[in-house]
């Protein structure tokens, strides 16, 4: 009863100065909103990256030309490409624990069909590419080993390309022209969606790497080599073996290639966003503390303003504890309500950001629980000193206070 009354009294006092209460809580509102938004957006981005790294395939190693510098993947790989088909074959045959190898070529080209044209990514791959990427054909079939051997003019195309070039006809068996070279569409890929960089993975034409080398690129070097290992435990060994093998094949020349595992690629991709998230969350945390100090400030003013009220309460029998609780509850209500409003605002903000960036929102319950707990702790921490000050007042002096 006594406790319930105390809460009622605190609530009434807050309601009486609603504007001031809201302004006081604003620091907490913004702080909590920022924390929630940061964590949600960060989580969303992270899950997106993880999903697309996983969709890269299982136990993947990537060999690309050029030595890696600290930043990880370099822009424009393949520009000074020195990887060869022979390198790929050597990996396939000489490294133990390798399931699949696909030499890769890639560039962007204008693709024509049906009098329509579309700029898309043209990949040169081996047949095993689809197995490595855990990708499937929804219509028709993949080009064959024989097509690869003969550098056939066959291709499989992604859903986006189908929509752009064959809006109302069955693409299977039709011809599309890449740089004026006709390729026969033998299959349509199952839709795969966007990857972590926001690229449309269905906006693709895949042809045999041999065809790409011979007919489009007209050079002997590959853009990269995609390798799939048998088991995740084997990855470090396979990575080392590939490095040794390629180094040996280069007999003493400076290494001009880099072998990366899927994990390293993922880490490189998430590292920046992780740093950003931590940084922004830290800033948000600071604003929470500033919000708490704001509450303490207002509570101190409030205690001074209400000295007489405190005196009256003490005179009619309130214990110091009752007064302490009254002001503490006020501070906690302020900060927890601020926290609640902040959560709503934070969810709204992350939803908005996710809409703009095509990310999924992952509003984590732990972030919400954490924010509420943290703002309650802020309320207790910053409310305690003013409340104790009120509780320790001498009734006669408080009554005499003008």
């Amino acid at each position: 009863m006594r406790f319930v009354n105390t809460i009622k009294v605190a609530l009434r006092a807050l309601r009486r100065s609603a504007m001031r209460s809201i302004l006081t809580a604003l620091g907490i509102i913004i702080g909590v909103a920022a924390v929630i938004a940061m964590v949600s957006i960060g989580n969303g981005a992270k899950s997106q990256v993880e999903a697309s790294i996983a969709s890269l395939g299982q136990n993947i190693l990537l060999v690309f030309p050029g030595t890696a510098n600290t930043g990880g993947m370099r822009g424009g790989w393949g520009s000074a490409s020195t990887l060869t088909v022979e390198d790929a074959l050597a990996i396939q045959h000489e490294v133990a624990g390798v399931v699949n190898v696909s030499p890769e070529m890639r560039d962007r080209s204008q693709v024509l069909a049906n009098g329509l044209n579309w700029n898309t990514q043209v990949l040169g791959e081996d047949v095993s590419y689809l197995d490595i990427r855990i990708w499937s054909i929804s219509d028709g079939e993949m080009f064959s080993e024989a097509d690869v051997r003969s550098a056939a003019k066959a291709c499989v195309i992604g859903r986006t390309v189908v929509n752009q070039l064959f809006p109302d006809s069955d693409p299977i068996g039709q011809t599309l022209r890449i740089r004026n070279i006709p390729f026969k569409v033998v299959g349509v890929l199952a839709p795969k969606g966007f990857n972590f960089r926001g690229d449309d993975q269905d906006d693709v034409v895949i042809i045999p790497y041999t065809s790409h080398l011979k007919r489009l690129a007209r050079r002997p070097n590959l853009n990269s080599i995609l390798v799939q290992a048998t088991s995740p435990d084997d990855m470090p060994r396979v990575q080392q073996d590939i490095t040794d093998l390629l180094q040996q094949r280069r007999s003493g020349r400076e290494p001009d290639f880099t072998v990366r595992s899927q994990l390293e690629i993922a880490e490189a991709a998430t590292a920046t966003s992780k740093t950003m998230t931590v940084l922004l969350a830290a800033i948000a945390g600071v604003s929470l503390i500033v919000g708490g100090i704001g509450i303490m400030n207002i509570m101190l003013v409030s205690v001074t303003e209400r000295t007489r009220e405190i005196g009256i309460r003490l005179a009619v029998g309130a214990h110091g504890r009752d007064v302490l609780l009254q002001f503490l509850v006020e501070a906690i209500i302020l900060s927890v309500m601020g926290g609640a409003l902040g959560i709503l605002l934070g969810i709204g903000a992350s939803q908005l950001v996710s809409k703009l960036n095509n990310w999924p929102v992952l509003v984590s319950t732990s972030a919400i629980v954490g924010a509420v707990a943290f703002s309650a702790v802020i309320g207790i921490f910053f409310g305690f000193y003013p409340a104790r000050k009120a509780a320790r007042l001498d009734p006669i002096e408080a009554l005499r206070y003008e």
């Binding site: 009220e309 009256i312 009619v316 009554l399």
Partner: protein, 253 residues
């Protein structure tokens, strides 16, 4: 009759300032249940200090104070608060109501800090009954700023009464009121006293003291006079006279 208040050589020395002030210098006093005492004296003679001691708002520097048989000097802060809550009702010169809080809620205040748990209905009913005693049940939902001085003081009396105290202490309850309103308040006190509540009040005005049964006079922290009131005034009768005089003035005007 049983002694409600027993003061034995009570001293109060304020030593917060540069020079210690000896505000109460050895007061010995017994007040029995049902008494109606007025304390008078010059400004600074220690009346308020004595009232604060009686009201357990402050502790004596020396001496023994038995309130209803309990030795108050042995009690801690919280026990004193409970004592104020249960056995004492305090009325101040400046009313000391919570602003922006209705009359009824002001009256309920001591019940919030009582030892017994009441339902909000019980609290409300008792507050209204208490307001009824001082004749203000119609104004229960008014804020102090919407009430006259006399009405505010009656709300304060209702608040002092709500926990059915044994003693009502009032420090210059009519100090801020005009003479007619003062008579009104004394009428309330006389009625309460007739119902058996012990009342101790401080006043500057001799005629107000004549509504009481016993008059004490303080000088320099000591009690110098303690007499029973011989020709006691009745607030009801005085009010009749005032009203008659008023209507006579109106008739002649």
């Amino acid at each position: 009759m049983a002694a409600v208040v027993q003061l034995d050589e009570i001293h109060k020395i304020y030593d917060s300032g540069e020079v210690p002030v000896h505000a109460v210098r050895g007061v010995t006093l017994t007040i029995a249940a049902g008494e109606f005492v007025a304390i008078m004296g010059a400004s600074g003679s220690g009346k308020s200090t004595l009232m604060n001691l009686l009201g357990c708002l402050d502790r004596p520097s020396r001496g023994r104070y038995l309130l209803d048989g309990t030795d108050v000097s042995a009690l801690d802060r919280n026990q004193l608060a409970d004592l104020r809550n249960q056995k004492l009702g305090f009325v101040f010169q400046g009313f000391n109501l919570l602003s922006r809080t209705t009359a009824r809620e002001n009256v309920e205040l001591p019940m919030l800090y009582g030892r017994r748990a009441f339902t909000s209905r019980e609290v409300r009913e008792r507050a209204l009954r208490s307001l009824d005693i001082v004749g203000l049940s119609q104004r229960a939902d008014h804020f102090p700023s919407q009430l006259s001085g006399g009405q505010q003081q009656r709300v304060a009396i209702a608040r002092a009464l709500i926990n059915e105290p044994q003693i009502l202490l009032a420090d210059e309850p009519t100090g801020n009121l005009d003479s007619k309103t003062s008579v009104e308040i004394m009428g309330v006190f006389q009625k309460l006293n007739e119902q058996g509540i012990t009342i101790v009040m401080v006043t500057h005005e001799l005629d107000i003291a004549h509504y009481c049964k016993r008059n004490l006079i303080m000088r320099d922290g000591r009690l110098v006079s303690d007499v029973a009131v011989e020709q006691r005034l009745s607030a009801a009768a005085e009010m009749q006279k005032i009203l008659a005089a008023e209507s006579a003035a109106k008739l002649t005007a």
